[in-house]
Amino acid sequence: MLGLEKLFGGDDTNALKMDEPHPESLLDTGAQDVIGKPLDRIDGPLKVAGRATYAAEYDLDNVAYGFLVGSTVGKGKVVDLHAEIAKAVPGVIDVITDYKTFLRNPGQGGETKSPTQGVESVDYWGEPVAIVVGESYEAARDGAYRLQQAIDFETKEGRYNLDAYRDEAKTPPPGVIPPDYKQGDVEKALAEAAVTLDATYDTPSQNSAAMELHASIASWDEDGRLTIHGAYQMPSSDRQQLADALGLSKDKVRIIARYVGGGFGSKLGIAPESVAAAVAAKTLGRPVKAVMARQQVFDATVRRSDTEQRVRLGADADGRITAIAHETLGSNLPGEGFFEPTGASTHFVYPGENRLITHRVVELDRLLSGSMRAPGEAVGMLATESAMDELADKIGMDPIELRRRNEPEQDPQKQVPFSTRQVVPALDKGAELFGWDKRKGVAEDRRGEWFHGLGVATAARSNVLQPSAAKVTIDGQGRAIVETDMTDIGTGTYTILAQITAEILGLPIEVVTVHLGDTDAPPGAGSGGSWGAGSSGSSVYLACEALRKQVADKMGVAAETMTMKDGRVIADNRSVPLAELVGDGMSATGEIKPGKQEKETTQASYGAHFVEVAVNAVTGEVRVVRMLGVFAGGRILNEKTARSQCIGGMVFGIGGALTEEIVHDPRNGRVANRDLAEYHVPANADVPQIEVHFLPERDVHANPIHAKGLGELGISGAGAAIANAIHNAVGVRVRSFPITLDKLLDGLPPV
């Protein structure tokens, strides 16, 4: 993953490696009383007024427009490009390709090497093989479509179906988790168990479907330095991917990504338009803006892998789990190391002496699979949390009670303590707020044409701390400026970093300015894996802590005895305006990096999902009536943006359970439903009343701000709660996601 950058920024660097717990936090002793408050996003007015500049919106002088040309075979080779076809279109400047340099596929998050390069041989349908550059977007697009029809491809036999090649599945190299884990004797334990469950679930490929299309504007300066205005989640490592792809040192690449219109994993690594734009800009000697069309985002960025998951559970007569097996299958392009870590949460959520968690990958000639919001948990918990519901059914036990009886005292594999864990409190609080006691038996709540049902699931998502750096400056007027190349992909980063700064330095939030998304600033963690707030927030914390010491020195007091509030410094019976103490200004850099704490404790955010659905007895249409989530993710830095994160995750859960599915054409792997009319994310009418409640928590093992990830917690388990509610409503257990109405029809009563 992300390598720690060299020390960066001002002379005063405050570095912390999380080797020890960090019980004291300045956020608990700050006097400004701004941390945790549900403040509006400080970038909100810019966004609603259209003044937040997204990647494609920069207007550079003399810019040319590039449009990618995708392959029209699933596997093969470019024989003849026929560039003249596109060049004949008025307004087209050139057709540019570089078979060796262009990206075959996007990069994975945190990688510092180039993604796989080379596009003369085609490995999936839609692989970009060239870019047409024009004086206008329309001319470039016209040229690209005409060219696409004219290219001669040699077609080779490809592999497009997971089912057909399951026997050739391979064990992937270790990823965020090892591919295999074994403990005890699962087969024996299952044979001896009083109750067992053996069920196989499948989930389809999915697309992140971020609102903002992937886009890069490439421009080169006279010194051979490349600047990319782009849509990226992790500029620090993305610049290294770009530099490696283009044969540059990383200092020769600058990424600017101040506002990002959603990523959900799809912008963790660089995408094919970036290198194509850079090569084209170099060739033409002018900036090139390349924006992928929505269809190209579906064709050639990154998908969540389809999965097949066999879950076996063994329990004693009281429901205590003795064996867990979670054997999973995913797919990816040949030669790619990434595998969907489907069993990620299976490692620690439930106990059981005997454990088997495996991952296999089938190599297919379909677009890259990679991380999409909550890689692992999002699809893995669809299966495991459905399985828990099925097990509860078999035992005849309330599913909450089953989970209560399987609350482990410590990590069941590593035998280390959980840093914090509030699954049972979340289940209890949710049950009370939701009215779980009113749940009826299977198919017992029919209201006219609609069956109603309630479902529950546990939420869990691993917490990750990433190396992150930030510089904070107090200027001569006593205002604070935060600088890091961390991003805000709609999450609220701008706002929470300002709140942390304001709390520690005792400033009104209005005088804190946050600059994000520019690799000329210290390298931040980037946005991914729910680590953004905890990691970049901690780096800002450390910078502010150092500034407090500098201010205390100026004041001639010990920092611990000093209060900072409303722009004043109070200590030693004095109250002095901050601006008077700082002279021309002062700055400090904070650096956080992970340490022994992540091994000595198991860190995750937890919660519980409650769902009521209505299922139409005639048509099988499913409508989510209400959802309620109770979550514990350490300190809540901003209750409003945190709530939005959780709601967004829960909406993703609706999509995963009911609507979202990339369909690959069985003949060529092509994505058949490649726009937002046919790839169904939940529309407003699909999203019901959603309630989010937070449990108070501090995690002193996670980081100095005591906050953990929330961005992916809301999705983890949410879809299973829907599936479980559907079962409660109509008595049909669908193990193939999404649960579209055709899968329910056979189980409905006759009309």
């Binding site: 479509y145 069985p666 058949a672 046919e678 699909d686």
Partner: protein, 327 residues
Amino acid sequence: MRSFTYARADTAEQAVRDNDADGCVFIAGGTNLLDLMKLQVETPEKLVDISRLPLAEIEEREDGGLTIGALVPNSDLAADRRVIEKYEVLSRALLAGASGQLRNKASTGGNLLQRTRCYYFYDLASPCNKREPGTGCSAMGGFNRVLAVLGTSEHCIATHPSDMAVAMRALDATVVTLKKDGDKRRISIHDFYRLPGDTPHIETVLEPGELITHVELPAPVEGARHVYRKVRDRASYAFALVSVAGVVTVEDGRIAHAALAFGGLGPMPWRDDAVEAALVGQAPSDAAFGAAADALFRDAQGYGHNDFKIPLARRTLIATLRELTAE
């Protein structure tokens, strides 16, 4: 999008005059055409903009019917008091389609002429007889979940995506046009659409350059109950898997009038006399409803992924008939 020339017409007569060559297309709301042009599925050489023609009125006729200008936006038509009161099925169908923004732009005439949402029609790299005659049908061996089970041919299994047109069929609408030679024509909606056969690219009986100016609705059926039921994959902004438009009267315990049209099942908004023949004169009963469904699907053919549409539509039809005939 390819370059095109553009002419703006102020009168219907001028519009048909301006539509003077092959590759000439009228544009009103553009909610479908512009998407298709961006993807180069449609590549007109000339657009004749009819959006400013004075055809945005809804008028009552002496015979009790309504004459709807071709440019009446879908949202206005859905909200018209006369439509809500006398042609409820039409209002409901309109509101079941698209989104608020699209309905504000989409016109009555244009809605009738929507192109299919077949996945392969939209992709230039996939063979499609509708888009490029003679290249083949990719949907048959490919992914066809949303496609047709009635009225298909070996050349095309596309569905017509409109909700409005389904209601129009149940209401026996008439399409009024102006031809290039200045003649006006009145075409029953039942004769307006063509089955795909071996020419799936020709979807209606309109001649080149013929302009829809109005849609006429006959006087409403007295005492009829109206239902539009749309079944789809999400609660809004999705095309129908199956939809049923029903206009039914029951007199003295027997079905006196039944008009039933279907969306999502065929290459055109579907209506079948045999379905109604199985109902008219019968007392409402599950047996009669089942017979109607049997009639509807006597020649149905699924193509794999869309097989479920047959049982789904059967169930939906029966439930809709119950609702239409409930005491």
